[in-house]
Amino acid sequence: MPAIDVCDLHKHYGDNLAVDGVSFNVAEGEVYALLGHNGAGKSTAVEILEGHRTRSSGSVSVLGFDPAKAQREFRDRIGVVLQTSGVENEFTVREVIDLYASAYRRRRTLDEVIELAGLEEKVDARVGSLSGGQRRRVDLALSIIGRPDVLFLDEPTTGFDPAARRKSWDLIEALGDDGVTVLLTTHYLDEAEHLADRVGMLASGKMIAEGTPAQLIEKISGTVVSFMLPHSIETADAISTFGPVLGGDVRLSGRLVETTVDRATEVGHRVTGWAIDNGLELESLRVARASLEDVFLQLTEQTRKAL
């Protein structure tokens, strides 16, 4: 039985379909990332699984419990990092860990939690005096006190500096290696690529793609050809100029011209031939395998057009 099983989940607020028929499952010990823009329905879906919101329809099971009905036994076995939630500011890190631990059956010791969350130097600091990143680590610390079997992380590293993100990744990886099932939401594609065994992409409340990061990259499209727009060409003319040459959807971001193609050799040959004929040098010319980010951009673009 999967640790998390979601089937045809709907959440409607009036006419607004926040979650619109999403299905997925997460195996025991798997790290699964829900990826999407703000408002794609990630947090709504996760909060239904945590038992914080009710669903409009569909079936949901977490560790065999229905989160909408399950109470104490269920909450004892999950850990939750909410997107935003407060901690008692007037208490020290030691005090809040001790306090929240009192609610669980299978407690980690203070030292264990502090070490896992990397809060050694802040044990006796008041929560109110901590930086944003340090508070987020307190959130993480509080979520793992009860040795959860399933851990929900709703944008756990948003607002972190790169070093702090790396550190949190190490913690999440360590928990994953320990057999904990992790469901995380993020809009950082590198985070999903780095941490997740499988990724589900959400857009407008729908699951638009699912698979391992490698499968998604493989399945969607081949290769990205990109270069800087030569200075002799106005940005307004870029797409009309390069559309025919590259023969596909051309994206322009700043002065970077980009296209995703199946037959990179042929397109590469055409574009370099065109540049030589016109006596131009294509700066930063790059032919590279598509990243998860390209897949995501391409898919959300397709969804937008389809709507």
Partner: protein, 277 residues
């Protein structure tokens, strides 16, 4: 697997935590405990030599103030304190976090209420002690059981009403304003700050609300002209009735989510849907 800690021990733990929290918020401590004491000293310095005529004789106003402000302290520690603190914790997202833990929600709320009762007991006792030392408050032991029962009914009812207000009003800033807007005018017509004229329209209004019955019932326990046991069952039943009403509202309307979270999420989703549509 080991069992969950027992409920009484968890209520005790939560009560201790709420009390710790209370002592670390100086503004709450000031308004709940210190301010009524300051008012006691101030009113007595201004009007302390006056008396109130009763059928049996002249009742020193110092005793009136001590009893009235002691009851007021009990109300401020429960009603005002909970109506202030609960929405603050909700806005901060602390309530939602506790909701994510296996702690039964009734134990969290019980901790809140028990701590408010402990604060009320400390504040009221301090007030009575000052009354005895400085303002010849008469303590007749035969009437103390009545004082204790009146106190317990009052704090129970006002704690429930505080939770009710915290449930109806969604943001911390408006909850604190509403609590004061309710309790201060009511205190003026309910024999707390000034003895009210028995037959006036204001007294008739005050008698609709639970503050005056509670204050009068508590004052009676320290009024030398009232015979023991000094229990006013009618007033207590009336106060308790308000408490039951408050409890009903609190159970029906209480929310754990910060007020901004629901609408923000929906608006965000709608904005995104529009942008993509």
């Amino acid at each position: 697997m080991s069992a969950f800690p027992s409920s009484p021990s968890m209520v005790l733990r939560q009560t201790k935590y709420q009390l710790q929290y209370f002592t670390r918020v100086p503004v709450a401590l000031f308004f709940t405990i210190i301010l009524p004491l300051v008012m006691l000293v101030l009113f007595n310095a201004l009007f302390g030599d006056n008396t109130i005529e009763t059928n049996e004789g002249d009742w020193p106003v110092r005793q009136f103030y001590t009893g009235g402000l002691a009851a007021y302290t009990a109300v401020s520690a429960t009603f005002s304190n909970l109506a202030n603190m609960v929405p603050i914790r909700r806005d901060e997202g602390v309530l939602k976090r506790w909701r994510s833990t296996p702690l039964p929600t009734w134990i969290y709320i019980a901790g809140f209420i028990c701590s408010a009762v402990v604060i009320a007991f400390a504040g009221t006792s301090a007030m009575l002690a000052v009354g005895v030392v400085l303002y010849d408050l008469s303590i007749e032991w035969a009437k103390m059981p009545a004082a204790a029962v009146t106190f317990l009914v009052g704090v129970g009812a006002f704690a429930a009403l505080g939770m009710a207000l915290a449930s109806i009003i969604k943001t911390a800033s408006s909850a604190s304003a509403a609590a004061n807007a309710i309790i201060l005018p009511l205190a003026f017509i309910s024999d707390v700050f000034v003895p009210a004229d028995g037959d006036s329209a204001l007294t008739a209004i005050a008698n609709v609300f639970p503050l005056k019955p509670f204050v009068n019932a508590f004052q009676a326990c320290f009024n030398p002209f009232v015979e023991a046991p000094a229990l006013n069952w009618g007033a207590l039943a009336f106060v308790a009735g308000w408490g039951v009403f408050g409890l009903g509202v609190a159970i029906k309307k209480f929310t754990w989510e910060p007020s901004g979270a629901g609408p923000r999420g929906r608006r965000g989703a709608r904005a995104a849907a529009t942008a993509q549509g």
